[in-house]
Amino acid sequence: MNADSDVQGPGLELSDREVMSRLAEGDMRSLEVIYMRYGAMARTAIRRTDPRIDAADADELLQDVFLQVARCAARFDLSRSLKPWIYGIAVNLSAGRRRTVLSHLRLLRKHHEASTVLLETSETGPHDALENREQVDRVLSLLPKEQYEVMVLHAVEGFRGEEIAEILGIRVNTVWTRLHRARQLLMDALRKDEGASS
């Protein structure tokens, strides 16, 4: 029984809109299709939002994400894109959990100084974990967290400006500004590195 052998199950040929429409009518098999399409993305979103999350908690959050997808399917506006919607749910749930963890750690910190390690690391952006590496790490670490975030959503996930705005709950103009600044920082840094190495 190879897990991949039955990937081509019914529904995989359908568009996101058709699949969501079926899910809204109560066809839970459609949720499998949605999960197979966007499960890995949602897991990545969770890990990006909370890099310190362990596997069990990530699994649990992933269930929460798709539970919300199933619960809200009937109200989902089929003219919207599914991918950023799911990404947004993952980010929001993960951020909510992280806030809970952080507030708990802050409380602990008052009483136990030893509990601050996770707090300190969790406050930083995902790229901070890459410090002290080579050129790439140096360049990435130049980006403030907000700019890194929109760059990931745009360059890696391929979301449009308005989708990023929706995911992060910010205005489209803000997305645009952050991308612009990120681009400048990255291009300057790359030029500098290339100049130094030539």
């Binding site: 029984m1 190879n2 897990a3 991949d4 052998s5 039955d6 990937v7 199950g9 839970m28 098999r29 949720l31 499998e32 299709v33 999960y35 197979m36 499960g39 890995a40 993305m41 897991r43 990545t44 890990r47 990006r48 362990d54 596997a55 069990a56 699994d59 649990e60 992933l62 269930q63 929460d64 798709f66 539970l67 199933a70 619960r71 890459l130 590496r133 080579e134 790439v136 360049v139 990435l140 760059m151 990931v152 745009h154 360059a155 890696v156 449009r160 400006g161 308005e162 990023i164 489209v172 103009n173 997305v175 645009w176 991308l179 612009h180 681009r183 990255l186 291009m187 790359l190």
Partner: protein, 470 residues
């Protein structure tokens, strides 16, 4: 605003269609904008490459998708808080005997029955009436989120659906059309009221540290680490099946020893004096008792073969792999969810070179087995994917999950890190691979694992061949 000013908005898709069209016409004639956008594309591509190289994104399998969806389905209408039945759980871990209790409370029967369960495997019992036969299905059931499991939470399953939950080191599977209320959930003591249907509990023998006992009302079952299931029929009859090990059943002055592969049916009783105690292992079960059908009040006949682990291990040790695989396969046809036996089969299949089948067996164990067994399966699956099937991406997924999982000792952690690094090298993610190896080399010093990591790093520095990873 000139057209050139719109290029950043265009590249983020922020322009409305007609403005975007105008800008695209401008782009055909403006060299500066084209160069700007080309540079931007380059930056984006490089950035995406850097980020992607640091993230592992493995699409879920169909099996995982089904598992998730069933868990989601199960949580939609059925999970509910029952504050009135919430039980206060004191802080701190109770010392002494590890206790696991399943209270079986049935419909109109006021007195609850309780049974003791030890076990490793899952198997199916028909949902109503006397379970005449064990259903043959490999359906492993689906996970219930940890947030939905706790004191005062009730979990239900519908017809055709089974679900499992992890309670500390034990795994509890709720059979189809069943309902259970988690009353107590502590490291050393777990109490579940089985309101209807069936339940299978799996406990790692090495973690129990003593008798694993279930007591409530009429029946008590003690678990030491084997396979044991409890089913409460609508009429109050309780059925106990032993898949591995040995069980002592006491009901008043009467005592029955239940062997591996045998089934005990307890008629409804009002007296609170029945005790079922399970003893570990089956190596001490006399041959003439194995699989023997016994008749008598309260004792029914086994419907499934016993898990003859000693014989199978002996076959494997003697190199009789074909015979071992055949016997293990036959057993798993009857008892498909015995994760321990399936793990044994995975090892045999691997030695036979039936790598895809071995990997598939591991995947099933990852879903059906206890936490510790799932960890073994992840490790073996990772090795098979990496070394036999040449699928580094899949291998990396297994090893990452293994390293994220519980109970990883130092030696296996180092080995898994090394295997993961090999997979990463093959995937072209040399930076992460190197980083992991450097950590192993630093952390494990002059141990075999540390030396191996250093050797791999040295080899990587000495050669430009990407496949040379060890």
């Amino acid at each position: 605003m000139t057209e050139c000013c719109k290029r950043d908005a265009w590249m983020t898709g922020a322009l409305d269609p007609s403005t975007a069209q105008r800008f695209e016409r401008h782009l055909e004639t403006c060299r500066e904008c084209r160069q700007h956008l080309a540079e931007w594309e380059q930056v984006k591509t490089r950035f995406a490459g850097w980020v992607s190289a640091r993230e592992s994104r493995v699409p879920p399998s169909a099996q995982e998708a089904r598992a998730l969806v069933d868990a989601v389905m199960a949580r939609m209408p059925d999970i509910e808080e029952t504050p009135s039945r919430r039980v206060h759980v004191p802080h701190g871990v109770r010392h002494g005997r590890l206790s696991f209790r399943v209270a079986v409370a049935g419909g109109l029967v006021a007195a609850a029955l309780a049974l003791v369960v030890i076990g490793i495997a899952l198997y199916l019992i028909p949902k109503t009436g006397h379970p005449e036969m064990v259903q043959k299905t490999a359906e492993p059931g689906f996970a219930i989120a940890a947030s939905d499991v706790g004191p005062g939470k009730r979990v239900r399953t519908r017809a055709g659906q089974q679900r499992w939950m992890q309670l500390h080191q034990s795994r509890v599977t709720l059979r189809e059309d069943s309902a259970a209320l988690v009353v107590k959930m502590e490291a050393q003591e777990t109490v579940i009221v089985l309101e209807r249907g069936g339940i299978v509990c799996t406990v790692e023998p090495r973690l129990t540290g003593g008798v694993f006992q279930v007591q409530a009302g009429d029946v008590t079952v003690s678990v030491l680490g084997t396979t044991f299931s409890v089913y409460r029929a609508d009429d109050g009859e309780v059925r106990v099946e032993v898949m591995e090990g040995r069980v002592r059943v006491q009901q008043g002055a009467r005592e029955e020893i239940l062997m591996s592969g045998e089934t005990l049916v307890l008629p409804p009783v009002d007296d609170a004096d029945a005790v079922v105690a399970l003893e570990p292992g089956n190596s001490d079960v006399p041959d003439d008792r194995k699989g023997v059908r016994r008749q008598g009040r309260g004792v029914a006949v086994s419907e499934h073969p016993s898990a003859d682990l000693d014989t199978w291990r002996s076959l494997i040790a003697n190199g009789q792999l074909d015979e071992a695989a055949a016997q293990l396969g036959r057993y798993l046809e009857a008892v498909p969810a015995n994760a321990r036996v399936r793990m044994l089969l995975a090892g045999v299949l691997r030695r036979q070179g039936r790598d895809a089948e071995a990997l598939s067996a591991c995947e099933t164990v990852i879903v059906t087995g206890t936490a510790a067994m799932a960890q073994q399966a992840r490790y073996l699956a990772g090795e098979i994917a990496l070394m036999r099937l040449g699928d580094p991406q899949r291998a990396a997924g297994f090893f990452r999950a293994y390293l994220d999982g519980a109970s990883v000792d130092a030696t296996h952690r180092a080995e898994a890190e090394i295997h993961l690094s090999q997979a990463l090298y093959r995937m072209g993610q040399a930076d992460e691979a190197r980083r992991r190896l450097e950590q192993v080399a630093a952390q494990y010093g002059r141990t075999p694992a540390g030396d191996r990591a250093r050797r791999m790093l040295q080899n990587r520095n000495d050669t430009t061949t990407p496949s040379d990873v060890d």
